[in-house]
Amino acid sequence: MSLATAPGRRPAEPATGPRAAGGWFLVLPALIPILVLSVGPLLYGIALAFTDAQSGRTAPTRWIGLLNFRDLLHDTLFWESFRVGLVWAVGVTVPQFALALGLALLLGQNLRLRWPARALAIVPWAMPEIVVGIMWRLVYHPDAGILNETLGTGVDWLGGLSTALPAVVLVGIWAGMPQTTVALLAGLQNVPGELHEAAAMDGAGAWRRFAAVTWPAIRPVALAISALNFIWNFNSFALVYVLTNGGPGGHTRLPMLFAYEEAFRYGQFGYAAAMGCVMVAVVAVLLACYLAGRLNGDER
């Protein structure tokens, strides 16, 4: 086989033409599904936001311009859900980052219990989100849950108006720890060991060494993973769906849950697509501010 193909191909090899053409050939198998099932639907989705598309309607879909967005502007339920989404995303991302950074630094030390900690820190990554949700439902269970048993309380954690959101946020932190920890561990490989030792020799304390040597080295990774975490958390669905399904009284209704209900329970495709557009826009603006601020900080 190779004898037959190799000589036939070789005369053409030295020219740059086939190599350049080969690029297309290599990229095409992945590019077609990406265009058809990812880029296409995205554009289609944006277009839907400007229509009155509904599920199971016989009348043809019409362009309605900005009407969906005007309705959204006055939809207090949506903005309430948006607020919950932001609280959730910030409330999960920030502690998640701090805890993961601490864990990554600890795992970098020569400690004895490192191995089980490393294994445990990875486990939530492998678990289906639904299982994570079910597991914490068992923990939070008012009668049979271990949390009430340990604390000696009788709180309905997921059902209480004031406890539901914090309880759900804690689960979010737990579930997202592995990715953040692993990314930061990878970032810590960039920390120059000699510099650390030199700083220690000069009498720099642990905090000084962290601020002067470790942090600058892991900064790019830290920036990237916290930005990604924020996006993932803001768009998260399965965890809260199984924990509270948005309740009680919408106190944990993330924007994704709201849009899902709007689209697939009430069939308001156009309206839900408009929500999606607003979500992307707000997240994009927030991230741009965050990254710009951070990059400016870099220059100083």
């Binding site: 839907l48 492998a126 678990m127 068992l138 199984v242 689209a263």
Partner: protein, 285 residues
């Protein structure tokens, strides 16, 4: 110097102790929900109904697992999940490998655009994509079918697969390929006998990881699959939770445990490679 010299060992010991306390706190935080899930899955119904549940089952039983299979079509669901996840993982990897090769080895406008897409696709809110996908698949009569779900999973697994594979291709030294070319090996020959063997472990890791993400996926499955006989494991798990909250804790925990096992086992295999790949990516940046 001398006060410092005397002070240091004591301070270092205190730091060490502090580190162990912190690590222990992490261990407890990470482990206790897992331990509770395990314990619940093996508890008999009588202990689950007790007002003061203990950490360990007094009389461990497998009843919950048996009951879980009675209550919901778990076997069918596992089979559906297996079919969807395995096909999606294989197709995604087969399709992504050549592209990853191009991304790692060439810098053209096309490859730059593709790398950009890999990053941007992470920021999509899937709600914006799922409605059009639902409409498109409905037009193709692929809603409520496994092939429809597989198509979505392929595209959904592609960004991370591309990202992993690109890292692995970069790790194959270009010099090796050039040496083979100098020795008179054709392009195809170089790919099959030099690049492919070195890339094989990375390709396997990518397949396994794509399998895990598809096996665990919930949202698309929830929207696209309606008939109970076609639903995947995560969707069927939610059926254990009745309208008024959790009905039967034991079988629920048992089924949740079963749904996790395949991912956990596979993840143990690929964990090192994924962290390695992330490391390569981080170093590259």
């Amino acid at each position: 110097m001398s006060p410092l010299g005397r002070g240091r060992p004591a301070r270092r010991a205190a730091t060490r102790a502090g580190q162990y306390v912190a690590l222990l706190c992490y261990l407890v935080f990470l482990a206790f929900p897992l331990a509770w899930l395990l314990s619940t899955a093996f508890k008999p119904a009588r202990e689950l109904a007790s007002l003061h549940p203990g950490w360990l089952p007094d009389h461990p039983t497998l009843d919950n697992f048996r009951q879980a299979f009675d209550e919901q079509p778990l076997l069918r669901a596992a089979l559906n999940s297996l079919t969807a996840a395995a096909s999606a993982a294989l197709i995604a990897t087969v399709v992504a490998t050549p592209m990853a090769y191009a991304l790692a080895r060439r810098r053209t406008r096309l490859t730059r655009a593709a790398s950009g897409w890999v990053v941007v696709s992470q920021a999509f809110p899937i709600v914006l994509v799922i409605i059009p996908l639902f409409l498109v698949l409905k037009g193709l009569r692929l809603v409520d079918t496994l092939p429809g779900l597989v198509m979505v999973y392929v595209v959904w697994a592609l960004p991370f697969a591309l990202w992993m594979l690109t890292g692995y291709v970069r790790a194959v030294p270009r010099e090796l390929e050039e040496a083979a070319a100098v020795d008179g090996a054709g392009r195809l020959r170089t790919l099959t006998s030099v690049t492919a063997p070195l890339l094989a472990p990375g390709i396997v890791a990518t397949v396994l990881f794509a399998f895990i993400t598809s096996w665990n996926e919930f949202f698309f499955a929830l929207v696209l699959l309606k008939s109970p006989g076609k639903q995947t494991m995560p969707v069927v798990l939610t059926h254990f939770i009745g309208a008024e909250g959790v009905a039967d804790l034991g079988p629920l925990a048992a089924a949740a445990l079963l749904a996790t096992l395949p991912s956990l086992v596979l993840f143990a295999f690929v964990q090192r490679r994924i962290t390695g790949g992330m490391l390569a990516g981080a170093v590259k940046n």
